[in-house]
Each structure stands twice: as structure tokens, then as C-alpha cells.
Symmetry: C2
Subunit: 381 residues, 2 copies
Amino acid sequence: MKKNYLFTPGPTMVPPEVSLAEAQPMIHHRTPQFSQIFYELSEDLKYLFQTKTGEVFTLMSSGTGAMEACVANVLSKGDKALVVISGKFGERWAELCKCFGIETITIDVENGRVVDPSEIEAVLQKTEGIKAVFTTQCETSTGVVHDIQSISPLVKKHGALLVVDSITGIGVHPFFMDEWNIDVAITGSQKGCMMPPGLAFVCVNSSAWNVIEKADLPRYYWDFRKMRKELKNKTTPFTPAVSLVMAMKTAMDMIKKEGIENVWKRHARLAHATREGARALGLELFAGEYSSNVLTAIKAPPGIDVDKIIKRLRDETGVTFTGGQSELKGKIIRIGHMGYVNDFDVIVAIAALEKGLSEAGYLVELGKGLSTVQSILVSKK
Amino acid sequence: MKKNYLFTPGPTMVPPEVSLAEAQPMIHHRTPQFSQIFYELSEDLKYLFQTKTGEVFTLMSSGTGAMEACVANVLSKGDKALVVISGKFGERWAELCKCFGIETITIDVENGRVVDPSEIEAVLQKTEGIKAVFTTQCETSTGVVHDIQSISPLVKKHGALLVVDSITGIGVHPFFMDEWNIDVAITGSQKGCMMPPGLAFVCVNSSAWNVIEKADLPRYYWDFRKMRKELKNKTTPFTPAVSLVMAMKTAMDMIKKEGIENVWKRHARLAHATREGARALGLELFAGEYSSNVLTAIKAPPGIDVDKIIKRLRDETGVTFTGGQSELKGKIIRIGHMGYVNDFDVIVAIAALEKGLSEAGYLVELGKGLSTVQSILVSKK
């Protein structure tokens, strides 16, 4: 009886309620019936981003589409952009900016570490006329979480826009669009939102519109101005992914019912338990003190082929972890714990980790990780 | 007991089998399990486009996203493009080309009529260096179908690329990517494919790669070169909409089982019956002899407020037709019959049409449309 346990960096597990909402009979998108759902979802999404002054647009794309949309809406020909790179997704911001012909200055952070906000300030001081700073809240390729709250005032001080990829952050880590003074932020459906992939969400704060209105890079499908205009009509400029929108409404109902603060607390608790479970097995965390609550990246023990463990667990037990990408290939195991994840899921994840390591010949006291996790979860609310 | 009957230009009705496939447990997209499904789907899509030499890419976007992808991949700065406009979707090609700074020559066809292929040839002869011709197989805003087969050799003779928006055509009308010598064609999931919206498909024939490789407009999310590279690995460059991909595989299984020729014949038969049913009620077809099998556009009878009929039918009976857009607003009723539609659906559509017209004060002999449709459907295989 193999069941699927997705401890992946996304797509993550989807609650059956959400899957069934996705399977509802199709409705036409130019009807009051759809508009009402879409309007309510757009309001719920403000809660997700913790904004009152911003608007949230629903894009029919993966998260990368939303990243491209940010670049195309915020920048103009001849602009300079600063990109903080601490892994694969920071790199993607830089690739996108360069693709659109933008002069792109990067801060390259070592894998597994986060940027020091003062480094950002130093570049902004040294380089005149940086239009926007592109950052990543949670870099899932390495497992770190950046301190966006501290970065924000430094960026604003220099008059640049702050754009945050919070694709895996929102719905996992505390995120405050208004309070932190963020101009543009994005997330995806298949992460903390407990949804299948296919939708992305862009929150544009009132502070960003001056720049967006004047920007001159080519944009059509990604045009925030069109989206804003149609959102006022409770609709989208182009055909929305109706079934995913209906599912997302159900997912947001679940998040609202739990309460976003409780969602954040749950993730912090599960992540803490996972990290301690791994440590109890003598394993080292790749991101150390910078570890996010999105996933736990564990260093491969010397001489152990972690990719083989991952493959075997997936094929034989249905528990899916992921390995490292590019230069981190073979060097880490990533255990996701975001979205539709509870205490017993973390127990399963650690049980699978113990099993996998043990079968690969890593000396592990079976049950040691589990008992550590269990103690934390049973005692800690 | 109100049931939903979607006789709309898309999204169209979704078979329960497809909806349930969409509601399957989530799987991770970087697994052999997903790759196998994605590979099989990509092969099935070649059958849908009737190509052996082309490749079909699955895009996470609406149809408009696929249109933007075509423009961004085929054209370069300083290029000239020719766009045939016979309604809203032809206009969209022109808007997209202009948005990317392309010199855009248009042929403007009267609403409800199709382009004369010789007009295209005349422009190609007169204007040097047109890189690509953008066309629409079925223009759903007016209900016409263009003769792509006759257009193609004229475009090729002049060395231009032929790009076809067949978003509502494919899976409804005969379409032969290879035989007709088409370079790039697109379709969407929520039309003939009986799927929810959210996926679009681009077929790129081998003839187009020379141009695509050299094109220099900014492209990242839409980059066909990346898609081609990843398709060889049985995957996508960015996170695919897993649930929609799984649903689409089921939809393609249904299309393959029926046989694409039979799918085309079914649509021709249902469209013919709908047209004759409307005529029997004394109504006039907006697209006359150019009517596509996608939808039947009917002229509003003098003095009858068709938008009010449409609204009332939708709200009271669950039967959804659509009206005209922009300058056609109030002037036509559009009855879609594409995708998951059978004989009895057309009977329901005509019954609703009779009811709506009758209640709006249009003198109609109740049952006259129905008996006409019934005679056609019962006698004609």
C-alpha cells in the first residue's frame, strides 16, 4: 500500500477538499457567478500578503511567469537593477533582467548563507540610479530565509523599488506587504497555498504604480495595468484557469479558518522538529542558522550517496524528498514541510529519513530521530 | 434542478472523467512518473496537430500567452509582420506585434467574412521582407473559419513563416500541421480539448527553427528553445501545471478513442444541425457560408434584446450562450458547440433558444427548430 508523501519544494500535497473543488463542473468566466468567486479570492489574497493598500493579481503561469511579469512591468530600457543571488531562484531574477536588456548588478551570496543587508546598502550607495532591487525571501535551492524586513528600509532610503520573490515564503513565513513597505511581491499556488501548480499571484502596492505606469519594456500578457483595470471589473484580461481559481478559493478558506498567524506558527514548529530530528541522527543542516521553515536542507554524510537514497525512498515507499540542484547535486537532501503538512507528516518524513540512511549504510540508531521529533511535537504547541 | 450547459466560446464543458483526473493526488514534476505522463501527452498532442515533423510544447498560460510566445520567438527587432484581422483575435495578434515594436501590416476583413487568400498574396508581393504572417483559423468573435490550407502555399511562396492561431480550431475543424505546411500553430486547453483553461499548446514545425534560433526579441518564460531542450528530457523548463497535465492526458485518451476524424465529423454534424435549427426559426446566420463548426453566430432579430435573452437563460435555466463583443454587442447570439458536446446537447441548445426568443416576444413556432434539428441528427450519421 504505497501512499504518496510529497516532501518536495513544490508542488506540495493538496488537500482532498481542494482537489474536489478543482473538479467542480466548469463555469464560464464572464458570468456574475465566476466574478463573485474571483472577487472574493482577490480579497482573500490581500490577507495572504497582509496588505490593505495593495492589489493582488492572479496570473495563469508558473512562478517564473510572475517573475518575468515583475521585470517587464517595473523596469524600462536603460534601467539598472540590483539582484541578490543566493541560489537558483536569485539567479533567475538576474537571467530575466539580462534577457530584457537591463544593466544587472548582482550580489552573490555563498550557497547556504543569506545576504547581509548592509551589502545591499553599500551597492545602492556606490551605484547611482538603481531602479529596483530583486530579492528572494526563501531560497528553496539552499533552504535559507532572508531578512526582508531589514532589507526593505535600506532599499527605500535610496529610492529604489523592492521586489520580493516570496514564491515559497508566503503562507509559510511571516510576510507583511504593507508593514515592511514592499512594492511588489509574488507567490505561487503550489507551495504554502496547498494548491496544484498553474497559478501565480502578484501583489502590487500603491507605491509601485508610478513606476509601473511609466515603464516601457514590452508587456502584453504580463501587463499589470490591464490586470488592474480588469480586477476592478472582478475579472482578468485573459481567460482565467477557472478550475484552479475555484480550488484556490477553497484553499484560501482553509488558510483563513486556521488563521495566517497559526499557519506561520505551524510551519515554524514543524520545521524546528524536522531540524532537531535530523540533528539527532548526527546530520548537519546545510543552511544552519539561516534555515527557513519551508524546507530543511541536510548535508550529505561523507561517503553516502543521498541521491540514491532519495530515489529508492520515492520508488519503494512513496516518500518524496529532493536532492540538490546544479553544484549542490549529491551534496544535500531537501525535506519540504510546507503547505498541507501536519505533525504526523513530519513523523513520517523522519521515519523515512532514518530508514533511507540506515539502508544506505549510514550508522543510525533507529528511532532516535523519531523520538526527538515526537518529544518536541508532543510538548510544544 | 438547474444544470449547467456551457454553449460558450470557451471554457467549454469538461467530461467528469477529465475533472476527476484533475483531482488525482499531486505528484512531483521531477519524477519518472510525471515524465512518462508528460512524454505520452506530448506524443498525443502531435496527433492532435497532425504532425510527425513538429514538436508540441505545453505552456502554463491562457491562449493569449501562447500568442505572445509565438511573437517573441519568431520575430526580431526591425522585422515586418502581416496580420489578418477578421475580429477580436486577429486584432490581438496585431496588438502583440506592435507591443513588441514590430512593423505591423494588417489586412482588415469585415466582421463575419473571411480573408480572400489572394489579398494576402497581394500584400506579400507589394511589401518586401515580411517575416511572418499571423492568422486565425476560427475567429470566435464572429464565428467564421478561414481557409488556412489555401493561405499556406501563398505565404510559403514568399518565404514568410505562417503562424496560425487555432485556439478554437484544433479538435473541432480538420487541421493538418504537416500536410498544410504550417510553421507554428497554437491551441488552448479549454476549447475542443474538453479541458479547463490553464494550458496552451504550441506546435513548432521543423521549418521554423532556423528563424526561432536567430530571433532576438526578449523571451524567457516563453522561450521555445528552452522548451525544446527540456522536452527531450520529457519535462518543462518551469514547473508544469501537474493537475491540468494529468487531466489533459485523459482528455487526449478520449479524443484518440473517438478518432480525430470522427471528432471533426461530429463537430461538422452538430454545427450543421444548429445552423439549420436557427434557420428554421427564421433567424439569420451572422457568418453565413463562412460559419465555422466551433460556434453558430446568429443575428439578433430586429427589436429583440438578445443580451437580455442570454442573461435570462443563463440565470434561470443554466444554459449559457454568449453575445457579441465590442461593436457586435447586442447584435449577435453565439451558440458554442465544441468539445464535449453531443446530439442531445444541441437539442437542449435549440430548446433553450426557442424558449428565450419566445419569452422575449419573438414570434416563434415552438418545436420548429427542435424538429428540424431532430430530423437532421436522426437521419444523418
